[in-house]
């Protein structure tokens, strides 16, 4: 038998198996190491700090959990958030993340390792990324074989699409959610293959963990039923499916209802109805199968089949009716906005205003997944080639996830795993084909099977996933008869489901192998470079600390946010209420530890609209609002000086819009544009704009900074008027180094009972016009 290159032939199969498994373990360890290491750029470049906005709340909640214990955390009523409404935290969050780090914290302290809770929170995401790599390995192993699994693990370990939400310090639900997602899917596939209740229960347990950890659990809740339904429609119903699904659904649903925030949603809302419906359908089908097994009359069976369909249809109608009657809540806004893409902007501006809810352009796909993105369709095709149940799952996952990722940037996260899996399948089958030293020839297949499998690193040990092996064997067997062919027949042969191909298969020559392998390895290398670059440059900045380049190229840290937050912490009374736009609520609570009016958990639109109204109204209108809410300080973000574009003036229109939603009479968006419909801040700005509190606070004393010269707003690129706005009802309390954060103190009432405008003009020594005594005699009416 001709070989492209020689293999050591004196190895016993046992040795080969052992070595390969050892290699696998080492490889996995290295992959985990790489996954964790590549997420530490943020810590290296900046410091061990919590990132962005939501993580700050999670961090704060975790501190409460670590200090006061779980029950205190569960009953935690945060009276400093949403002042004065307060927020029932325990019932309005997914506690999985905090619980996880709380457990880790307690375990470490039980082991007398006094680790600071902050470091646990910072490093949680990288740690779990290693686990994600492992679970992806397991999952892919079920799809093809270990070699594909290793590739998939490597891919997901360093794919920017996943790193973007799991760098050290981005302490958010997604950090652990992706691991749970993949592992739940793995358990599901396992349960489906083996039909074991044990794995079904495991699926349910991890599903519960997922529910407790991330709102995105609805994805699993609908993926698994979809898979089951497809299998039924493909006529692949089996007792294994029945066992797996029933055990998952029954236990999983009951468990998920234990999470306070979820409560009775699994039986009340449309997102969960698919699972319930499929559950019912499965029972019916199972019963039909049972009867079919016992009754022989074909006539009866056909009737039965019809009745099954009928019952299914009935169920659908019943569901529609229930929804119509309002016993089942329809899709929630966020969920609905995935289907009707115009929905969010029209009805829930708060959601639409978030940048990560925008649709995705192709560059960010490529940025996040590089060459995986075009390997992924190839992988899907391969899945179609040998269409086992688990492959159906990958296919469905692929199409659904790619749609969602297209609609929302943040859902790129759910696409990444399946892309990695599919790409790994494609890539490893390429390698399998070209590393395999066997050249096709007329020969006895038996001796060669093991050798062929050595480089593929395929151990005959695992029977369930061995179908790849079996297909290989089949090909070898088929290789017996040789005949010449053209491309078309080759394609046909390729397309025909594995095992039945009647043609020899293999590659001639060494050079061809080298070319392809070299090409492939080059791509892998490039991918690693790409990931390193993207991670270090794009995804590792904690938006709390900004970095800019000095002229000499060195890094310049802009730390205004923390400067200002610590100023608040040091210089204001513990209970001083701070008003800001909701983006900064969590950070103020986390870093400045002061009560806030609104924060990033946007549960009360009216309260947010109140803040929006205060910001977009003239001083004298805003003042009563501020007093009523006991606001002591107002904090705004202003980028005009150093050109920080994410500042409040740019978000101002959203404030106006949201306020308009509640007070259409008083606040109107068009008033904030110039007559020509432009959004200006210079001297042609609309009067409503100029009088608004936000404008005044942003540009207060801004012009003085430039002395006589023209003051230019670096973000809007416009000249602001020479004579800046004046403030009567607020005092400038603090302005950070680069003017990014400005804090204003709200004045108390005047001690002589005058309105603050007159009081102010008196203090500046202006003459007031002489007033007359009130009319003594009222006119007789």
């Amino acid at each position: 038998m001709p070989l492209a290159y020689t293999l050591p032939s004196n190895l016993s199969p046992a040795t080969v198996a052992n070595t390969s498994s050892l290699l696998r373990i080492v490889a996995l360890a290295l992959i985990s190491g790489a996954a964790i290491a590549s997420r530490l750029f943020a810590v290296v470049n900046f410091e061990s700090i919590i990132h962005e906005f939501d993580p700050w709340f999670n961090y704060r909640a975790t501190r409460v959990l670590a200090e006061k214990g779980f029950y205190a955390f569960w009953n935690w009523f945060d009276h400093t958030a949403w002042y004065p409404l307060g927020r029932v935290v325990g019932g309005t969050i997914y506690p999985g993340l905090m619980a996880t780090s709380g457990v880790i914290y307690n375990v470490l302290h039980a082991l007398n390792l006094p680790v600071d809770i902050r470091n646990i929170c910072v490093l949680l995401a990288p740690g779990f990324s290693a686990l994600t790599a492992w679970s992806t390995y397991m999952f892919t192993k079920e799809m093809k074989d270990e070699s594909a699994g290793l590739l998939a693990a490597a891919f997901i370990g360093i794919a920017p699409g996943y790193i973007s939400r799991s760098v050290a310090g981005s302490y958010d639900n997604e950090a652990i959610a992706i691991f749970l997602l993949m592992f739940t899917f793995y358990c599901w596939i396992k349960a489906l293959k083996t039909g074991s209740v044990l794995f079904g229960t495991l699926t349910a347990l991890f599903y519960f963990y997922m529910v407790a950890a991330w709102g995105g659990y609805a994805f699993i809740t609908n993926m698994i039923p979809l898979h089951a339904l497809t299998l039924i429609l493909m006529g692949r119903f089996s007792s294994r499916l029945y066992t797996a699904y029933s055990s998952w659904y029954a236990i999983g649903t009951l468990a998920s209802m234990q999470v306070p925030f979820v409560g009775f949603q699994p039986v009340r809302t449309s997102e969960h109805m698919a699972a319930l419906g499929v559950f019912g359908l499965l029972q019916i089908v199972a019963f039909a199968e049972l009867v079919r097994a016992h009754v022989s009359s074909r006539h009866f069976q056909s009737i039965l089949f019809g009745s099954v369909i009928g019952i299914g249809v009935l169920g659908v109608f019943a569901f529609a009716g229930l929804t119509y009657k309002g016993w089942i809540a329809p899709w929630t806004g966020r969920f609905y906005s995935l289907w009707d893409t115009g929905y969010a902007k029209k009805y829930i501006p708060i959601i639409a205003s978030v940048s990560e809810h925008q649709p995705t352009a192709w560059p960010s796909f490529f940025m996040d997944l590089q060459f995986l993105i075009f390997l992924f369709p190839a992988g899907v095709i391969l899945c179609f080639r040998e269409l086992r149940d688990e492959h159906v799952f990958v296919i469905i996952y692929a199409v659904v996830a790619s749609y969602f990722a297209g609609v929302m940037v943040r859902l790129m996260l759910t696409l990444t795993p399946v892309v990695c899996v599919a790409a790994a399948v494609a890539f490893s089958s390429l390698l399998d084909t070209y590393i395999d030293p066997v050249e096709p020839d007329v020969l006895a297949p038996s001796t060669q099977a093991t050798e062929a499998e050595v480089p593929a690193g395929d151990s005959p040990a695992n029977a369930p996933s061995g179908s790849a092996t079996t297909s290989k064997k089949a090909k070898k067997a088929a290789a017996a008869d040789a005949s010449s062919s053209g491309l078309a027949s080759g394609v046909l042969a390729a397309m025909s489901p594995s095992g039945k191909s009647a043609k020899p298969r293999g590659i001639f020559g060494l050079d061809t192998r080298i070319v392809v392998i070299a090409n492939a390895l080059g791509m892998l290398l490039f991918f690693v470079l790409h990931c390193t670059y993207v991670t270090s440059s794009a995804y590792s900045s904690p938006s709390v600390v900004l970095a800019s380049q000095n002229p000499d190229g060195s890094q310049h840290i802009i730390d205004d946010f923390r400067e200002a937050y610590y100023w608040l912490r040091q210089n204001t009374p513990q209970d001083a209420v701070v008003m800001s736009w909701w983006d900064y609520g969590y950070q103020i609570a986390g870093m400045a530890d002061r009560p806030t009016l609104v924060d990033n958990n946007t549960w009360n639109n009216t309260h947010i609209a109140t803040v929006g109204k205060a910001m977009s109204s003239p001083e004298e209108v805003a003042y009563p609002i501020l007093r009523k809410h006991d606001v002591d300080y107002v904090l705004i973000i202003f980028g005009g000086l150093i050109g920080y574009s994410g500042d409040d003036i740019n978000k101002f229109l959203w404030m106006v819009r949201i306020a308009q939603g509640v007070w259409p009479e008083e606040i109107q968006e068009p008033n904030y544009f110039t007559a020509k419909g432009e959004y200006r801040v210079d001297d042609q700005a609309a009067p409503a704009m100029k009088n608004s509190l936000m404008y005044k606070m942003s540009y207060y004393r801004f012009a003085e900074l430039y002395g006589g010269n023209s003051a230019v707003d670096r973000v809007r690129g416009q000249q602001v008027p020479k004579t800046g706005p004046t403030l009567d009802y607020l005092d400038e309390a603090f302005t950070s180094e680069n003017w990014i954060v400005r804090i204003y103190q709200v004045k108390k009432e005047d001690l002589l009972g005058r309105d603050l405008k007159t009081a102010n003009s008196f203090d500046q020594g202006k003459k007031r016009k002489k007033s007359k005594p009130l009319a003594r005699r009222k006119a007789v009416v």
Partner: protein, 445 residues
Amino acid sequence: MRFLRKLLLPVLALASLALARSSTGDSVLILLDPSLKKENFSVFFGDLENKGYQLTFRSPKDATPEIIKDDVAQFAHVVVFAPNTKTFAADVTPQALVSLLSKNTNLLLALSPKQTPLTSLASEFSLILPPPGTPLISHFPKRDTPATVIPVDAPAAYDIISPNLPPVWFSGVPQALGNNPMLVPLLKAPTHAFASDGDSDSGADALVEAAEKSGEGLWAGSSLSLVTGFQALTNARATWVGGVEMFSDEFFNKEISKGVKSGNRQFASDVAAWTFQENHVLRIDTVEHHRVNETLPSETYTINDRVTYTAYISKYDSELDVWEPYSGIKDLQLEFTMLDPHIRTSLPPVAGEPGKYSVTFRVPDRHGVFKFVIDYKRKGWTYLTSSTVVPVVPPRHDEYPRFLSAAWPYYAGAFSTSAAFVLFVALWLAGDDREPKKSKGAKSE
């Protein structure tokens, strides 16, 4: 006790005066216009000194002793008897005087028909003065004094002025009052008095004409105030006197009618006493809140708790220079507010325990950050304000009822199902293999 004192006051005036002390301090700065001789006011100043005040005199022109030093008020009270001074020293600006109030220093200011910085300051206190050079004039009752020197009856205004005084002599400008709730008119003009330039009647008619035509307000009659108290939010008090002569020895001794001396002396000391916060001074010593049948305050309350709120209020007693518990307030109110008052209830004094006001109420069925608010503002009295923040939280997870009678069907269902399952399994295992039919039947159930 107080009642008795009221009766005896005219008699014991001097005696009691000797004992009286202010609640805020005894140092008094008197800005005295050089044109008015100090000895012309010897009685008034003497009375103050008898009360135990240390008087410091200073001409408005010279710079020392300064009123505010390093942003700290140097005197507890400042008397500005400079009705004719056009220009004050640098540190006695209207702004400085207002800032004194914020530093809880009391002011006693005298006006005059002349246009001075004080005139413009008066308008900040929403006092509306007639045009310069128009003093108050009255021709009744018939008397030998010029028309600008008027005897005015002094009713006991807000029982700050001691009752049934003989009329007091007044000469100076009246003030019309803006609608500012902080004003406390202490002495009203007689109904037949009016402000006019020159003391001839012709002027008067002309003034009325002018007033009617040009819509200029008419400074006449009892709506005008001659001596006006003002209590700022800081509880510092400022009193505006229409004319400084009221406090002069001349007016003190001037007879109203044969053998009846004027009430000026007593009136002056009453005004001074109120202005220097000797009387009508209240304070909230402490507030307490706790659940019913608990004693310590809890930092959070659960919805629908029954909560007791207690406030201890005491009043300054100038004779003994002590704060003594005071149960005299009948219309005190407590508000339990989040954005808006969810509960507004009266806070009655507790019988038998002087100075203690207490009420028990049910916390509303609404969680959030609430405030106990007392906001007691009455003319002439110190403002009582207090606000205590308490979060009201929903019940803990283990504070809900454990077993609901409504849920019995579900319990029953759960238990019966498990029982049935056990039974089924038992039967299944007990079933005989030789009869597959039976077991099949069992399965298909």
